[in-house]
């Protein structure tokens, strides 16, 4: 069941979300730095004249090579990412920046060190950067985080023999703030009564946005925004769903939900609203790196932040009301303890809103598509609209 006029179908920008490689990587005259996750400062990489590329697993359903090193209790998204890297899928990287986002990803990047960049025949020297993130949001821990960002800046300067000036940072902040504003404008078209864009397409835009130089992304977002503004709203009776939980970069999953009779009008995902809901506040005469760090650290958190569940819950509640959500789909990739525990609490806490909720587990590869489809369709059927 398709609910939307396909104004963005086969759009070249959205197509970028379907694979890892894209023409901008090949054409780029900048060094490409892979990064994981959103707690790392894209603006800083940009100011260092690097092309930040968000690491993901798109298009790789296999985990065979990664399974040699990571046990079956590891997240299948992470194993698929490592698998892709072991096959050479990330050989285009000129740098890699990581942090302790979660247990799975941190260990995956150590395996990048051991097994990807050290594999036979691979000669490239790839500088690696690590930032240790706090697990709480407090002023004292912010100082730690800020120092990590200062150190990261110094390490980037040393590794690439560059100097990152405040003007560079301010310029990058402006470009990235514009990018977030454009994403927010698109999001507004998604949450309106009759949306102009599907959740799958919005996710594609968000993924593509993290895979191309931001200057290009901004041009593309403006173009897409113009298309959307001129397109018809879709008037149908699809259930308005909010998608919450583990990372989604396999488009088959949101497509399955939307093909089952829903529209994902909002989300709480790594590649989703969390990324663009706010801007960097540039304080006149202030320290731009501090401004960048403040936004990343104090913005709405992901479940890795142990003391911020309440704020995440409030965000969900607000968004449920703002986007007129009919039902909440909580999901986690199996073995994801952080989203699994957060979802467990959401499932109980959101009951006070008297809103239908489903809490499902899944694998990254969508091998269990039929099971998911049955559960999602049953869930959508029980929503009265």
């Amino acid at each position: 069941m398709r609910h939307f006029k396909l104004s963005l179908q086969n759009d070249p920008f959205l197509e970028i979300a379907k694979s890892i490689n894209n023409p901008y990587i090949e054409k780029s005259d900048k060094k490409v730095i892979g990064y994981y996750c959103t707690y790392l400062p894209e603006e800083l990489f940009h100011a260092a004249n690097l092309f930040p590329f968000r690491i993901r697993a798109t298009g790789n359903d296999e985990t065979e090579l990664a399974d040699i090193y990571m046990v079956r209790f590891t997240c299948s998204y992470v194993r698929a990412t490592l698998d892709l890297a072991l096959k050479g899928g990330y050989d285009f990287l000129d740098g890699l920046a990581i942090c302790n986002s979660c247990d799975h990803t941190r260990r995956m990047f150590e395996l990048f060190d051991y097994k990807v960049f050290n594999r036979e025949g691979y000669k490239k020297e790839v500088p690696r950067f690590y930032a240790a993130l706090p697990h709480v949001i407090t002023d004292e821990s912010y100082e730690w985080y800020k120092n990590e960002m200062i150190e990261l800046k110094g390490e980037l300067e040393k590794a690439y023999n560059i100097t990152i000036k405040n003007e560079d940072l301010i310029n990058s902040i402006n470009i990235f703030n514009k990018n977030r504003r454009l994403l927010r404008e698109i999001h507004e078209l998604r949450i309106q009564k009759f949306p102009k864009i599907s959740g799958t397409e919005a996710l594609q835009i968000s993924i593509a946005n993290s895979s191309v130089p931001k200057e290009i992304a901004n041009q593309e977002l403006e173009r897409i925004l113009n298309i959307l503004k001129g397109s018809e709203s879709i008037k149908n009776n699809a259930k308005r769903i909010m998608l919450v939980g583990s990372i989604v970069d396999n488009l088959d999953f949101p497509r399955l939900i939307e093909d089952s009779g829903a529209t994902i009008v909002s989300d709480f995902l790594c590649f989703g609203t969390r990324n663009f809901i706010d801007d960097i506040e540039l304080r006149p005469g202030g320290d731009p790196l501090d401004d960048i760090s403040r936004r990343l650290y104090f913005r709405i958190s992901c479940p890795r932040m142990m003391d911020d569940h309440k704020r995440r819950l409030e965000f969900l509640k607000d968004e449920i009301i703002r986007a007129k959500i009919d039902g909440v789909l909580l999901q986690r990739i199996n073995n994801c303890d952080l989203h699994g525990c957060d979802n467990m609490l959401f499932e109980h806490e959101l009951k006070e809103l008297d809103i239908p909720i489903i809490n499902i587990d899944r694998e990254n590869s969508m091998e269990d598509k039929t099971r998911l489809q049955t559960r999602i369709e049953a869930f959508l059927e029980m929503i009265n609209k």
Binding site: I68, Y69, M70, V71, R72, F73, T74, C75, N100, C102, D103, H104, R106, R107, M108, E110, L111, Y114, Y130, A132, L133, P134, H135, V136, T138, E140, S141, W144, N147, P303, R304, M306, D307, H309, K310, R332, N334, N335, C336, D337, L338, G340, C341, D342, N343, M344, L345, E347, H348, E349, N359, D361
Partner: protein
């Protein structure tokens, strides 16, 4: 008037633990031959002393503070409170109760707690959900794993609303990290004090820390003696020693345990005696033993002549904490100790440290093999075994057996499966 019985009901699982340790200890003393499992005999009695004393304090209305095992128990002696280790209660009840604590795991799973999270927390969560615990406060570092960070939010959220003090531990080691964490511990204790209405008495804390410094020396002596062939400890020492560190650290009983056990170890060492007969295989367990049934330890000693030289709770001893200088220095030492607990250290640092430690210890302790129990909950450790196996093969020339399991739930991998797999593995070694 205080109703002592009612107050006691604030920690029913703790009382169950006290009872079951007491009963098991009595059975062991009455039924088993006198020379069997001395670590258990000594340890169980001493642990029970402390637990009974704490039950008295609970009945007097002292605040009950749940804590995560990565915070050394003696740190909470700056308060007049009863510290209860969440993971310890779950796993020692799992070890000692006939059906473990499966009921509480299942209760939490039904409530939505993911099946792949740690049962050491799941047990205490289920007991809390079942209103068996009434904590006044809980304190938890942000390490060693996602399961900890995710699961502990349960206590402060939803219906429980137990005040949760979180101590942020950096996932990197170095002087900056230790200083940061030292401050986190200090502020965390001050904050915890506000929750339970007490000022932390850091002067009083010093004496407990000094006592644990003595304990550390004794543990280190025992650890050195394990290098001898045959090993002078029995396998059961591993879970019991983990238990004393979790339940009675900071008490005189802990000191007595290690003093007494060191004497036994020395005697065996001098006579080149090995518990259970001949020592045919020396194994290192870089992760945990089976807490759902610790009888495996005794079985390995008796039936396979296999020594468990140590597991993840029984190696790596930090330097004594300096209590003679200023408080900042003491907290720095506390931070180093806390971040040096093997499971914490190996989780908050990179692979290299763990692999180097294992390779070094394999050589120093003349290990014949490693047995890597790979927990469904410990994602930090799930990416290491294959690399560790390569390192042990290439650098030491010894094999490693990997067994997937749940440390607190025998339904995932049963005791019989363990026995069969290890027996088959042993055949390849002899």
């Amino acid at each position: 008037m205080i109703n002592k019985a009612e107050l006691k009901n604030r920690a029913i699982p703790y009382r169950m633990l006290s009872d079951v340790i007491s009963n098991t200890s009595e059975i062991a003393v009455r039924i088993l031959p006198e020379d069997t499992m001395p670590s258990f005999r000594i340890g169980a009695e001493l642990i029970n002393n402390v637990l009974s004393r704490n039950m008295e304090k609970i009945s007097e209305g002292l605040p009950i503070v749940g804590y995560h095992f990565s915070l050394p128990a003696e740190f909470l002696n700056c308060f007049d409170c009863v510290p209860i280790c969440m993971e310890g209660v779950s796993y020692y009840l799992a070890a000692l109760l006939h059906n473990g604590v499966e009921k509480y795991y299942d209760m939490m799973n039904s409530w939505g707690h993911p099946f792949h999270t740690c049962t050491s927390q799941k047990g205490a969560m289920g007991m809390t959900l079942d209103n068996l615990f009434d904590f006044d406060a809980i304190v938890c570092p942000t390490a060693p794993c996602d399961s900890t960070c995710g699961s502990y939010q349960f206590f402060s959220s939803f219906k429980n609303k137990i005040p949760l003090t979180i101590i942020d531990m950096p996932f990197i080691h170095g002087e900056d990290s230790y200083r940061y964490y030292a401050n986190q511990i200090k502020n965390g204790l001050i904050n915890l004090g506000k929750v339970i209405g007490q000022e932390p008495d850091f002067e009083k804390l010093k004496s407990y820390i000094e006592m644990e410094n003595e304990v550390q020396k004794l543990r280190l002596e025992i650890f050195e003696l394990i290098k001898a062939v045959p090993s002078p400890i029995e396998n059961m020492y591993n879970p019991i020693s983990a238990g004393t560190q979790i339940f009675i650290a900071g008490s005189s009983e802990n000191l007595i345990f290690y003093k007494n056990y060191l004497e036994i170890t020395k005697k065996r060492y001098k006579k080149k005696e090995h518990y259970g007969g001949e020592e045919k295989i020396r194994s290192i367990w870089p992760y945990m033993v089976t807490f759902f049934d610790v009888s495996l330890c005794e079985w390995l000693d008796r039936e396979l002549d296999m020594s468990i030289l140590f597991d993840i709770f029984n190696y790596n001893f930090s330097d004594p904490i300096n209590t003679k200088s200023d408080l900042d220095e003491m907290f720095l030492g506390m931070a180093k100790k806390s971040m040096g607990i093997p499971m914490v250290r190996q989780s908050t640092d990179f692979y290299d440290v763990f692999i180097d430690d294992c390779v070094r210890m394999a050589k120093e302790f003349s290990a014949d093999c490693f047995i890597y129990t790979n927990s469904i909950a410990c994602k930090q450790f799930g990416s290491i075994p294959k690399i560790l196996r390569e390192a042990l093969r290439d650098e030491v020339g010894i094999p490693m057996l990997i067994i997937d399991f749940d440390a607190g739930d025998g339904r995932m991998t049963s005791l019989n499966t363990f026995k069969e797999r290890i027996s088959m593995f042993v055949q390849t070694l002899l």
